[in-house]
């Protein structure tokens, strides 16, 4: 396996950071500012894409930036898994940028420059995490991401977002400092390295209880993955503007959490070590509990974004579950679920935001019949739901298929039932929304449309008394295009998952 | 008992400086008046100066000024017994320490004057009362 030294991954991380001063200085001219966002987005994406052929040919791209201690450097290294994650994040960044222009302008949000600046910082940290060569670098970008997201969650600046932002921080920063940091330093203390390698970094230094404690410290410490009981920041963080919820709380932030767990399981411990200690079962139980419980909670949520948030928590645990199976199909299914769920869930969030901007509605019970006025949105919503439930013809099917295969492969047939049960639950909490949207009867009462006083009614908003069923009234095109695109990609991934499968297999050193 | 007594007598200079130090420390901690505290501080410093002076001393030795009999170049020819002269170094060091303690005392006095001008008192409890009044207001 060849390792290429190249500055490209560093440039990818650097571009969004470098564009921030430009964004700030053009804060008075929103159009110029947004142009720069796209310039940065496309530059980033094309650089990421330019690395794809090398990765697919089996090489790695690496760059050591700062040697901070012997065996611990701030270093970037692109492998298949990181590449897949970077592709997701950078492509969705462009789509989300377009969407957020529509959303932020549609709602006349305040402090848009601050918003796009921290958004760029967050995406930079996400890509950095994707390209991290070792646990130290991963931790660094993980923390930057936590802090960059804080002002985004707190965006509205009112009492509710203050409480949410505080909870967000307590969970994310508290666990990463309190659990991950000591665990990481302990690893370094024992082995003298933090470099990811498929064989793991330990060679007989750990006892079984020690390994179990360390593993749990990591799994709970990366609280962005939303493993219960460290999940409640995610529903709270839904007070953020929808583009934040969409990109960060369905893709970037939470996926960095699970990505970190994937890295720790496959790169620090190594699959073989965990298998020999038989620790997979512990993780499986933890993640199964999260999968089922949060699905059940999702059923009872009436606020659409909160339902999506609980669904995210449950789906994230699928990924952890896939890792915990410690079998080839499980690893593949779990990792590719990062991709499949990303496109499915971001579509759903985009739809939620589009509905909110167009009608001001955010409770599911108010959305009956809305599908007839917003057909594209609800069609996309339907596709997104299928993706998350895991039904063909969406990519989600592929990942769930592999996960179920993995349970059979590793002989944990009981857990297959968990997966199936959860899929049913998913269907229960998503499909009625679509059904009611298209076929539900319209009954809108006055004064219910704006439950929260601090939300600003948009000038384009339809007065709540007149949704004329036949009249098509979608959100503006800047919001519609992204959600259609992600929905189509979600379908496309069902037919063409091969390139990503190859990346993942290369990332895990498995033969395709 | 006699051993302890002989220990005390043999190193009486140490005991003396310790007693003096403790007197000074007591005054600094327990006295209410800032000036008395200052005096305590001075006693404390002087105790250490005395300690240094005493460790340079030798029985039967004289001050370390070497007198050449023929003057001029004769010094080199003489045999000098270190035991005949007390050790000048600690004494010289103490000149510096005295300067330091005087300077500290001066600064502290100046501060006392400032405090007195502001509050018309140097009693610490009264000062505290006035300060807390001020912060409440």
């Amino acid at each position: 396996m060849e390792t290429i030294i190249s500055i490209t991954p560093f440039l990818v991380v650097l571009i969004p950071m470098l564009v921030i001063p430009v964004l700030v200085s053009s804060s008075k001219k929103p159009n110029v500012r947004e142009t720069w966002v796209f310039v940065a987005g496309f530059a980033m994406f094309s650089l990421v894409v330019s690395m794809v052929p090398k990765i697919l040919s089996g090489s790695h791209i690496a760059l050591t930036l700062f040697q901070v201690a012997p065996g611990a450097a701030i270093a970037l290294r692109v492998d298949g898994l990181g590449m897949m994650f970077a592709l997701i994040a950078s492509s969705l960044y462009i789509v989300t940028s377009l969407y957020s222009i529509g959303y932020m302008r549609g709602l006349n949000e305040h402090a848009q420059t601050r918003f796009v600046s921290f958004f760029a910082l967050a995406i930079s940290a996400t890509l950095g995490a994707a390209f991290s060569a070792n646990l130290l670098t991963l931790y660094l970008f993980y923390e930057i991401l936590s802090l960059a997201t804080y002002p985004l969650v707190a965006h509205h600046g009112d009492a509710k977002s203050k409480i949410s932002a505080r909870r967000y921080l307590v969970f994310i920063l508290g666990t990463s400092i309190g659990l991950v940091l000591p665990a990481m330093i302990y690893c370094y203390h024992v082995t003298g390295t933090l470099e990811f390698s498929t064989a793991g970094i330990f060679s007989g230094q750990l006892t079984k209880p020690g390994a179990a404690v360390l593993l749990l410290m990591f799994v709970f410490g990366f609280a962005k993955a939303g493993i219960m009981p460290f999940h409640s920041w995610l529903p709270a963080a839904m007070v953020a503007p929808t583009p934040v919820s969409a990109l960060l709380h369905a893709v970037a932030v939470v996926k960095v959490g699970v990505f970190s767990i994937v890295r720790v399981i496959t790169g620090i411990f190594g699959v073989d070590l965990l298998a020999s200690f038989n620790l997979g079962i512990v993780l499986m139980i933890i993640s199964s509990i999260t999968i089922i419980v949060s699905s059940c909670i999702a059923l009872s949520q009436d606020e659409l974004k909160r339902r999506l948030a609980y669904s995210t928590i449950s789906q994230l645990s699928y990924i952890v579950f896939g890792m915990a199976l410690l079998s080839p199909s499980g690893l593949l299914g779990g990792s590719i679920h990062i991709l499949m769920h990303a496109f499915g869930k971001i579509t759903l969030f985009f739809c939620a935001g589009a509905i909110f901007v167009a009608t001001g509605k955010k409770y599911i019970s108010e959305m009956k019949g809305l599908g007839r006025t917003m057909p594209f949105t609800f069609a996309a919503f339907f596709i997104g739901s299928l993706g998350v439930i895991g039904l063909p013809p969406t990519g989600g099917f592929y990942s769930k298929w592999n996960l179920i295969l993995g349970t059979l492969e590793s002989g944990h047939t009981f857990f297959m039932a968990v997966l199936l049960l959860s899929s049913f639950l998913n269907a229960f909490y998503f499909l009625p929304i679509v059904y009611q949207g298209f076929f539900g009867s319209v009954r809108v009462s006055h004064g219910q449309s704006l439950p929260s006083a601090q939300l600003i009614p948009s000038p384009t908003q339809v007065p709540s008394s007149i949704p004329v069923p036949s009249q098509i009234k979608e959100a503006n095109w800047r919001m519609l295009i992204p959600l259609v695109v992600t929905a189509l990609v979600s379908i496309g991934l069902f037919f063409f998952p091969d390139i990503f499968v190859d990346m993942i297999l290369l990332g895990f050193n498995m033969s395709p | 008992m006699s051993e302890i007594l002989s220990l005390i007598v043999a190193k009486y200079n140490f005991w003396l400086y310790i007693i003096l130090m403790m007197i000074g420390l007591y005054a600094m901690i327990a006295k209410n008046n800032l000036m008395k505290k200052l005096v305590g501080m001075n006693i404390f410093q002087t105790a250490i100066i005395l300690f240094y002076v005493s460790i340079g001393y030798k029985y039967g030795a004289t001050i370390p000024i070497i007198r050449g009999d023929e003057g001029g170049h004769g010094v080199h020819d003489m045999v000098i017994h270190a035991a005949d002269y007390i050790n000048p170094l600690p004494h010289v060091l103490m000149l510096t320490a005295i300067v330091v303690s005087v300077a500290t005392f001066g600064v502290a006095m100046a501060l006392c004057v400032r405090i007195y001008q502001r509050y018309q008192t140097l009693e610490e409890d009264e000062l505290r009362m006035r300060l807390s009044d001020k912060s409440h207001r």
Binding site: H110, H156, G157, G174, Y186, H189, Q454 | L34, T96, C112
Partner: protein
């Protein structure tokens, strides 16, 4: 003969003299003389560090007298680093001080600059010296100048705070002097290297033990190790800002340096960790310092006081690291001298900027600061993150070495204390960030007048005339439509915008930032946090590692 080490110390000494005298001719001169002296000193420090790194330890004989009789400046990698740190912070702070001195004590500026330079002379001298008694004298020079400078601060409280500082400072210095006396009795020498070589043969002596304990106790008092810290919070928070900014980062850290110097160069690792059995006790003390400092900081509602208690907490880091008894932890402690000085400096610079604009820094005065002083707050956030220990700021990397050393020594209580204090600091700082981000200054809810962001700071900004006034980053408030009703009420409890009722568009948040010189200083300090963080590997490899290997 290379005289750089002497120039390093003497430049500010002469500068102090000339600054004081020049006040009779023209007051402004004293500032520029101080600036020149500090620049020379900083340059010399850079030069000295280069020399030491290139060709090893410099032994500079003052006036050519050979040690052990003569006084020697002995500069190795460790104190070369600390010297550069002192000189650089003194210079940068001086740049930022012009405005705040003008504001605080226009009539006494030249005496301030003279004393300021004397203070720096003391710090530089006690870092450079290789002589135990000389160290005492320089500690006292430093302390004396800091007593006077602190007394220049808050008119009501500073004199009393300074006087209490004198009492405790004198006790500390006297203990140290006494300890040196015992060492002198037993070794007959005052030169550090000389004393160290003699001590190797007589480690069991009780006089050495007494001397050691007295010296260390004296230094601990001076560095405010819990529970000997009581003088620090008052002294630092009532000092004039321009001085608090330098004494807070440097004084305690240089004392930690002195402790490390005594431990490594004079007494030696063998003596401390094998002959004595104090390490466990001291590490527990450090744990107590960390936790006590953190919790007491949590109880404060004044920024300066809170920062002062954070210093108490950080002292625990360094003392604990130094006494864990392995090279990794010692590396962490030494690295933390550097890092903590920079972090504290940046924090106090930010606090200084806020004080300059607002006069007070109780927490309620910080409301809405992100809108009015975004640059200052950016620096403040970075420094706060560094204290919490978020990579890539430098605070993370020293914590890294300290934690590693704690694991190596099996001192899990110390590791736990470090983690807990990180969390405490996170709570502390994010509490502040929340206040500065979410809350609106009280008078902006004024229904009657123009609902400008901060009338008070605007006034002072226009008074000073130099403040930058611009609206940026928060301009996008302009997109907020006028909400005809309930505007003012909502603004009070919620958003940090205050829409202009009259026009309904283009509400512009007025920035009232500190003068450019102060901002620039903060920028330099904040940048140095990230740079030292990223290059901490190089610092450890080239400076601390070789030093400890000797």
């Amino acid at each position: 003969m290379n005289n750089m080490p002497a120039i390093l110390v003497i430049a500010p000494l002469l500068g102090a003299l000339i600054s004081g005298l020049s006040a009779w001719i023209e007051k402004k001169f004293s500032y520029y003389i101080a600036l020149t002296a500090m620049t020379i000193s900083c340059f010399a420090a850079l030069k000295v560090l280069g020399q030491v790194m290139a060709s090893g330890t410099i032994e500079y004989r003052m006036a050519g007298w050979a040690p052990p009789m003569g006084i020697e400046l002995r500069i190795d990698l460790l104190n070369a680093m600390v010297l550069l740190l002192i000189a650089a912070i003194a210079l940068v702070n001086l740049m930022a001080s012009f405005k705040s001195v003008e504001q605080d004590m226009p009539d006494r500026s030249s005496s301030f600059y003279a004393m300021y330079q004397l203070f720096v002379v003391g710090l530089l001298g006690l870092t450079a010296t290789g002589d135990l008694f000389n160290l005492y004298v320089l500690i006292e020079i430093t302390s004396l100048s800091s007593y006077t400078l602190i007394a220049l601060g808050n008119r009501d409280r500073a004199p009393l705070a300074a006087l209490n500082y004198i009492f405790i400072g004198v006790i500390g210095a006297s203990f140290y002097l006494l300890g040196v006396g015992y060492l002198y009795i037993i070794t007959g020498s005052l030169n550090m290297a000389d004393v160290a070589s003699i001590l190797k043969g007589i480690q069991g002596s009780s006089a050495v033990l007494t001397g050691f304990i007295l010296c260390i106790l004296g230094i601990w008092i001076k560095m405010a190790l819990f529970p000997l810290h009581v003088w620090l919070p008052n002294a630092y928070s009532y000092a004039p800002v321009a001085f608090a900014r330098i004494v807070a980062p440097l004084m305690t850290k240089v004392m930690v340096y002195v402790m490390v110097r005594l431990m490594i160069t004079v007494f030696g690792f063998d003596y401390i960790f094998e002959t004595l059995n104090l390490a466990d006790v001291v590490v527990w003390l450090a744990v107590a310092a960390i936790l006590a400092g953190g919790f007491m900081a949590l109880a404060q509602n004044d920024l300066k006081k809170m920062l002062a208690y954070i210093i108490v907490c950080e002292i625990g880091y360094m003392v604990g690291g130094a006494w864990l008894g392995n090279d990794t932890a010692m590396t962490g402690a030494i690295l933390h001298i550097l890092n903590d000085a920079l972090m504290t400096f940046a924090l106090f610079l930010a606090a200084g900027n806020i004080i300059y604009m607002k006069k007070r820094v109780e927490f309620q005065d910080m409301k809405g600061l992100f809108a009015t002083m975004p640059w200052t707050m950016a620096g403040f956030v970075l420094a706060g993150l560094s204290i919490i220990g978020v990579p890539p700021t430098c605070g993370f990397f020293s914590k890294w070495y300290l934690l590693l050393g704690a694991f190596e020594a099996g001192a899990y209580h110390f590791a736990a204390a470090l983690i807990i204090s990180s969390l405490l600091c996170a709570v502390l700082f994010f509490k502040l960030f929340e206040i500065a981000f979410f809350e609106t200054p009280d008078h902006s809810c004024d229904h009657a007048g123009n609902t400008s962001m901060n009338a008070g700071s605007m006034k002072s900004a226009s008074m000073n005339g130099t403040s930058m006034k611009s609206a940026y980053l928060y301009d996008s408030h302009s997109h907020q439509p006028a909400k005809a009703s309930s505007t003012a009420d909502e603004t009070c409890d919620g958003t940090n915008t205050a829409p202009d009722k009259a026009h309904g568009h283009h509400q512009v948040t007025v920035m009232a930032e500190a003068p450019l010189s102060m901002l620039a200083a903060l920028g330099v300090a904040a940048l140095s946090l990230v740079l030292t963080g990223l290059y901490s590997g190089a610092i450890v490899d080239n400076i601390i590692g070789p030093f400890l290997a000797l």
